[in-house]
Subunit: 135 residues, 2 copies
């Protein structure tokens, strides 16, 4: 059963839900950063510097949390997230290795974005300009 904070148990994780969580470039980047850190590393949402507002950040971490990719624990006035590495390895063996071997394309590497922009068709949901210009 999903607990009060929205974490599914290991058996409740579903692959399409996890893949959906990973299909957003920001969330993909978060998981990738976790994979480069030692197991069990805890980080706050804001520490990733994703360049979005707090409410948007909260939304993305909710998707990650409810898919089962990360766990968030209340630590006093803050809230620390960590990758559920063991659960994921057990439930979906090979998934984390797949991600760690495939760095995010064009969203994280700023040096070749011009070339990537030409190669990537516009139809993918990768870049979302949104209302960055403001009202």
């Amino acid at each position: 059963m999903v607990d009060a904070e929205g974490h599914p148990s290991r058996d409740e994780m579903e692959l399409p839900v996890i893949l959906n969580a990973l299909s957003d470039p920001l969330r993909y980047k978060v998981i990738q950063e976790f994979l480069e850190l030692p197991d069990g590393t805890e980080r706050t949402c804001l520490s990733f510097g994703l360049g979005v507002s707090k409410s948007t950040l909260s939304h993305h971490f909710r998707v990650l949390r409810e898919s089962g990719l990360v766990q968030q624990i209340n630590r006093g006035n803050s809230r620390k997230a960590h990758l559920r590495r063991e659960d994921l390895e057990e439930r979906f063996p090979g998934l984390l290795e797949l991600i760690s071997r495939n760095p995010a394309p064009a969203a994280g590497t700023a040096k070749d974005d011009a070339d990537a922009g030409a190669a990537a068709p516009s139809r993918s949901g990768s870049d979302r300009p949104g209302r960055a210009t403001g009202p």
Copy 2:
């Protein structure tokens, strides 16, 4: 470069795009069915019996095609699709095994959707009632 029919080359495939294609339960089911068949099996879009209209089917196969998961070849009056197994194994080793080991949950069985609706939480992007009932 993407060819005239929208197939990316092996090197152009991007994991988040593939994961996005797989995050839809219908498309996930198509790939899973391919994985249960012998390598190289060709099928028409309609042969999957997904219960959606032709135009919707065409849309889903376009997403699959443009992500790189399947290839569609003109065969006279028809168009046959097959899983790009070798390309996918080379580009993302472990991905296909991951899918074949995790059957789609509760979304594919149309006969007990009422029960599945009770079991699955409403928040996941798995089930889309849409306008299935029609106007």
